[in-house]
């Protein structure tokens, strides 16, 4: 039987204005924005499937609160200008809900931490404040008696990362972006001092501009042209329940950061969390879950939302947070390698800002003035501490 998928693809390789490596939400959003600007784009993805990295494993938070001050403008822009119209723009329901974020505290120390976050938020123009015990319970009657307060950011929310990533992919593809999956990109090659090619397991792709948005894999690729991105993988796990009767619309988090999550459009609850032993847990080369983590996440959740004790978990999974040395991503052209742009190291919070990042990276590639200042995300910002 002829494989209609690969018919006529004997000679892989090719040329485009922009080559994007990585078909996660960042790569797909970038490709989409490039296509809007009339650029020809090829997206190369190592995995068989689109978005099988962090993009399909995260908790779906679209938040501004709790972000590093450098990232806050991006998140606020995305929430105000891009997320509300995204479903319509992409022609697919990304299940965006803007009903706020509650970060819960059980102790005085928690409340102190939360106050700090709220203050930072307000300093940057974010509507964020602290709630008393009564106010919290009014907003969310399902919280346990242990919760004594919370920070509240009414403009935060959540969305469906699986559908969002695939929606960007689908729209980009419809606009003519060429996606090639199952391709291992081995390195970037410069010609006369300028990035000109990527060498892959299935041929060479040539272009004028190159975007590396390959999660942790970006490090290896950037290294091929002498650039290092100081990042590492942090394992984190998640779980999902069956559909439950509608309970609350807010995104939940905790001052302890022991779990975060929300109730989806489907009715199931998605929560992320960890056991605290991730850094020393072994792994078999893939992203296996550890036997102690899901139980730990459950105990954390039940302390805050007792009603969920009877919710049945149907699946657990794990993923990598691409943790940058200083906690915010690298979104940057690389001066010393003209033609190269990096978009990586999102440290576990890339999803919420993905719509604006996609645009910013496209702007960088096209030499346009960027919608927002991205100086803070330069690739060469890292300095020794002394």
């Amino acid at each position: 039987m002829t494989d209609t998928r690969t018919e006529g693809v004997e000679a892989l390789g090719g040329t485009a204005d922009v080559i994007v490596v990585g078909a996660g939400v960042i790569g797909c959003a970038t490709a989409y924005n490039l296509a809007l600007r009339g650029r020809s784009v090829v997206v190369l993805e190592r995995d068989e499937s689109i978005g099988n990295g962090g993009s399909s494993r995260n908790g779906g938070g679209v938040r501004q609160s709790g972000r590093d001050a450098r990232e806050l403008p991006l998140a606020m822009y995305a929430v105000e200008h891009l997320w509300p119209g995204l479903s319509e723009e992409l022609g697919a329901d990304v299940e965006y809900v803007k009903k706020g974020n509650l970060r819960l505290g059980k102790t005085e120390h928690h409340l102190e931490v939360l106050r700090g976050l709220a203050k930072t938020g307000r300093e940057h123009g974010l509507d964020m404040r602290m709630l008393s015990t009564d106010e919290v319970r009014e907003l969310n009657p399902f919280l346990s008696d242990e919760v004594i307060g919370a920070s509240w950011c009414p403009t935060d929310g959540h969305a469906n990362p699986l559908r969002t990533t695939l929606a960007f992919y689908r729209r980009a593809r419809a606009l003519g972006v060429r996606f090639v999956t199952g391709v291992d990109v081995l390195g970037v090659r410069t010609v006369r001092g300028r990035a000109r090619q990527v060498v892959t397991s299935a041929g060479v792709f040539e272009g004028d501009e190159f975007v590396l948005a390959a999660g942790l894999g970006t490090r290896r690729l950037a290294a091929s042209v002498g650039i290092d991105v100081p990042m590492r993988g942090l394992l984190i796990e998640a779980l999902v329940t069956e559909a439950e009767p509608r309970m609350f619309p807010q995104m939940l988090g905790t001052a302890d950061a022991d779990f975060y999550g929300h109730q989806t459009a489907h009715g199931s609850f998605v929560f992320g969390g960890d056991s605290g032993l991730e850094e020393s847990n072994g792994y078999a080369g893939g992203v296996p879950t550890a036997s102690i983590t899901a139980p730990a996440i459950c105990r954390s959740i039940m302390k805050y939302v007792p009603r969920l004790a009877d919710a049945k978990i149907v699946r657990t999974w794990a993923g990598w947070e691409d943790e940058c040395a200083d906690g915010v991503p690298v979104i940057s052209t690389v001066d010393e390698v003209p033609g190269l742009t990096l978009a990586c190291a999102f440290t576990g919070h890339g999803f919420g800002i993905s719509p604006i990042v996609g645009r910013l990276v496209a702007e960088l590639c096209c030499g346009e003035k960027t919608t927002l200042d991205v100086t803070a995300f330069r690739y060469d910002r890292f300095r020794a501490w002394a």
Binding site: M1, T4, R173, T181, A202, L216, D310, I313, V314, W317
Partner: protein, 130 residues
Amino acid sequence: MSDEAVRMTTNGASRSFSPAPLDRSRGLGDFVPAPDDDVLVCRCEEVTKGDIRRAVHDGMYTMTEVRRYLRVGMGLCQGQSCTKLVRRIMAAELGVSPAALDAETSRAPMRPVEMRVLGNEEAAGGADAR
């Protein structure tokens, strides 16, 4: 680049990576409605055959993508009942053998389990310890 870092980038199976390059630009032709498009395939999430066929035409070329796009196989039975059917439908739409499609990553828990049960870990040790 250390082996560790290379392994860390493999988000899929821990098995040896052997990519089969696939260019998604190749279209599948127009979507042609079929008389049995309204037959349910995934009964847990109420996804029909037509939904799946349309998803493939939207560019969802792997089982993983179709699952995330439609929720097929994400319900209570986690694909136990419908996976083979979905595979056959996708394969027919793509013009490939069902064996050519990706296998879903299997995950715990093997059976749905209440939070209060999963969180209730019996203390280690006891009479069974060697």
